[in-house]
């Protein structure tokens, strides 16, 4: 990242601090909600949404993904598609079985 001025870095630092606070808040929220012992479906959805929010903050700001180049985005989108296949397709063979 050559050519970034000290002033710009200071702006980034401000953002890092805000992201940090957001992450702490979201962590406390997710723990609190889990203590409510919602039904499994609701619990999973809420936990997933919060985790995705936290993950997006870390990826976008700490990992600078928000200003990253196209090539990297391409590789990551491809990975995301295959990850979803890996997470969910095996489940389909569990739910759709002969003689169930």
């Amino acid at each position: 990242m050559g050519g970034t001025s000290v002033g710009e870095i200071k702006k980034h630092v401000k953002i890092y601090v805000m992201v940090f606070i957001a992450l702490l808040a979201l962590t406390l929220i997710t723990v609190t909600i889990s203590s409510l012992r919602l039904g499994i479906a609701a619990a999973v959805i809420v936990a997933l949404i919060i985790a995705v929010m936290k993950g997006s903050l870390v990826a976008s700001y700490f990992m600078h993904l928000i200003t990253e180049k196209k090539v990297v985005y391409l590789a990551l989108i491809l990975t995301a598609v295959f990850l979803l296949a890996l997470l969910f397709l095996p489940l389909t063979t569990y739910y759709d079985r002969i003689g169930k």
């Binding site: 090539v71 295959f82 296949a85 397709l89 095996p90 063979t93 759709d96 079985r97």
Partner: protein, 588 residues
């Protein structure tokens, strides 16, 4: 393989002027060409070893329970008392033949050797992006290979639960299986490091003017292959970790509840799923088969363009088909699991994706075939191998169709038909292409050609024998003979009518070995005594031929090449020569 760096090269400022020690130059080498050659020799030795395992198996299949000649006594009391092999040893041979051929032989040869040596040269780069990572890739592969081989010598012998290592059997197998798992971790690490290197090199180090659509098809094939390795191997690594936990920490990731072994219930927690292993394994192993074929297609494409003296027909379609193929390869894996009790909805999904994936394969094969039309075909030794690849891969691919459709798979699953299908694609398919590549690029590596007469004997013998080995497998499979039977089906009534083919196939296998001898002699003889040739004896257009000396020095090029045109400008109207190299500017 000496890189002779003369003072003229040094004057151009790209030569490596400090003299490296023997260890730094040839053992812990950082130069992609040396590493490529390391991969070449290591993988060829492993291929030969895997072949030997199969030759021993084929004795048992042709003459079940008869004493193995010559080496029978050497196999040891545990494996072959009185020289007659026991089923557990046959299973070791089977599991290790598959593992060694796929992971220690073909992929390191196709990707590690060819990819490493040729790719930087074809893109006009001085080396790979990460030379140290490249070196670590090779040594990780080497360690994996040593681990796998030494497993034969531990109590209980090598892994014997198939190259697919299905639990629960693999979970309770002897120590050799644990070594298999550790060996796989080394190999997967090697692959991962290598694939990162190949992708970054191809994207970042292309010479000026070398746009993506001017890349030789070989480079595209290696790029897509690297993405497959990068993203598909980690789930198998995860699965290996889980199986290691089952075997070493007593977990039940893959052990269902209520499992009984030898009359005794296993004292484990249970609750695991053998199918989980299958999903994770095949998630890798399906893309892995495309890893086995794509570099071969890349090699064949180069050789066909060069020896027809015309551009490849449908280059753009081939590239798009390649990319689509790579993508789809991640979505078909459960066609290896049709018989595990899946319902019709999900079965239909995987049948559909499997049928769809055959389309890009056909596009690529057809384009290569059509590329021959109207060409001035030169029947050089590499071209013979490349031409034979086409119908052999065709048979392999077509025989896959009844396997990819569940109703027919019911009858053919786990029979010799499957073995015939996949061997056709890999043996008369990929291996023929890899031989083609060796004959083709030998002059670039050594500055000499291999002998044509020996080459043609090698070719015809190999082609005929391979067909004699694998064609009868379809017959046996259709008759219902199961795979992995240590006596070749002798005990089954339905096999009796087709048993005689075992003798034919075994004879052909041993003959196939004999026909590799001219190749081995040719290879080593030509390194020292082969006819010396110019830098570009094949009159090829791609940068490794047109811009680099034979052999290329450290840094590859005397001057950094610049690219002005596509990869296959053969017989361009209005040009003097019948080939126009990529780095030749337009005449002003």
């Amino acid at each position: 393989m000496e890189h002779v760096v003369t003072s003229e090269h040094a004057a151009h400022g790209i030569a490596h002027t400090e003299e490296l020690s023997f260890w730094r130059k040839y053992v812990f080498a950082l130069d992609h060409k040396v590493i490529g050659i390391q991969y070449l020799f290591t993988s060829l030795i492993f291929l030969l070893f895997g072949f030997t395992l199969m030759m021993i198996m084929r004795w048992q299949l042709a003459y079940p329970l008869e004493q193995v000649p010559i080496i029978g006594k050497l196999l040891g009391e545990a494996n072959a008392p009185e020289g007659i092999m026991v089923p557990e040893f046959y299973n070791q041979l089977g599991a290790m033949h598959g593992t060694i051929m796929v992971f220690l032989g073909i992929v390191p040869l196709a990707v590690g050797a060819f990819g490493n040596f040729v790719l930087p040269l074809q893109i006009g780069a001085p080396d790979m992006a990460f030379p140290k990572l490249n070196m670590m890739s090779y040594w990780s592969y080497f360690l994996g290979g040593v681990t796998m081989l030494s497993s034969f010598f531990v109590p209980g012998g090598a892994a014997n639960s198939g190259w697919t290592s299905y639990p629960p059997l693999s979970d309770i197998a002897t120590f050799g299986q644990t070594m298999w798992l550790f060996g796989m971790v080394f190999l997967i690490t090697s692959s991962l490091l290598g694939s990162i290197n190949f992708i970054v090199t191809t994207i970042q180090l292309r010479a000026k003017g070398l746009t993506f659509m001017r890349l030789p098809f070989f480079v595209w094939a290696q790029l897509v292959t690297s993405f497959l390795l990068l993203l598909a191997f980690p789930p198998l690594e995860g699965a290996a970790v889980l199986q290691l936990m089952d075997r070493l920490a007593g977990t039940s990731f893959f052990l269902p509840s209520g499992l009984v072994v030898a009359g005794q219930p296993l004292s484990v927690s249970g609750g695991g799923s053998p199918l989980l292993w299958q999903h994770l394994f095949w998630f890798l192993a399906h893309p892995e088969v495309y890893v086995l074929i794509l570099p071969a297609m890349g090699i064949v494409a180069e050789i066909i363009a060069n020896n027809t003296r015309k551009p490849l027909w449908g280059y753009k379609s081939m590239v798009y088909a390649l990319i689509f193929l790579g993508f789809m390869s991640f979505l078909v894996w459960a066609h290896h699991m049709f018989m595990t009790g899946m319902g019709t909805v999900i079965s239909t999904f995987f049948q559909a994706t499997t049928m769809i994936i055959s389309i890009p394969s056909v596009v690529i094969l057809s384009a290569l075939l059509v590329s021959l039309w109207g060409g001035s075909i030169r029947f050089t030794t590499p071209m013979l191998f490349a031409l034979a690849f086409l119908p052999m891969f065709g048979i392999g691919g077509l025989t896959g169709l009844p396997l990819g459709l569940a109703p027919t798979d019911i009858h053919l699953h786990d029979t010799y038909y499957v073995i015939g299908h996949f061997h056709y694609v890999v043996a008369p398919g990929t291996i023929l292409a890899l031989f083609a590549g060796i004959y083709y690029w030998f002059p670039k590596v050594t500055g000499r050609r291999m002998n044509d007469v020996l080459g043609k004997i090698h070719f015809w013998g190999t082609l005929v024998c391979m067909n004699l080995i694998f064609m009868p497998m379809f017959i046996q499979g259709l008759a219902g003979v199961s795979r992995r039977l240590y006596d070749g089906g002798q005990q089954y009534a339905h096999a009796q009518g087709v048993l005689h083919w075992n003798v034919v196939m075994s004879m052909a296998a041993w003959a196939l070995f004999l026909f590799q001898i001219p190749f081995i002699i040719n290879f080593f003889m030509s390194i020292r005594k082969g006819k010396r040739v110019s830098e570009n004896p094949w009159q090829a257009t791609t940068l490794e031929w047109a811009a680099a000396p034979s052999p290329p020095p450290h840094g590859n090029f005397l001057t950094t090449p610049e690219v002005y045109r596509g990869p296959y400008e053969y017989s361009v109207p209005g040009h003097e020569k019948d080939f126009t190299p990529q780095n030749e500017p337009d005449k002003v």
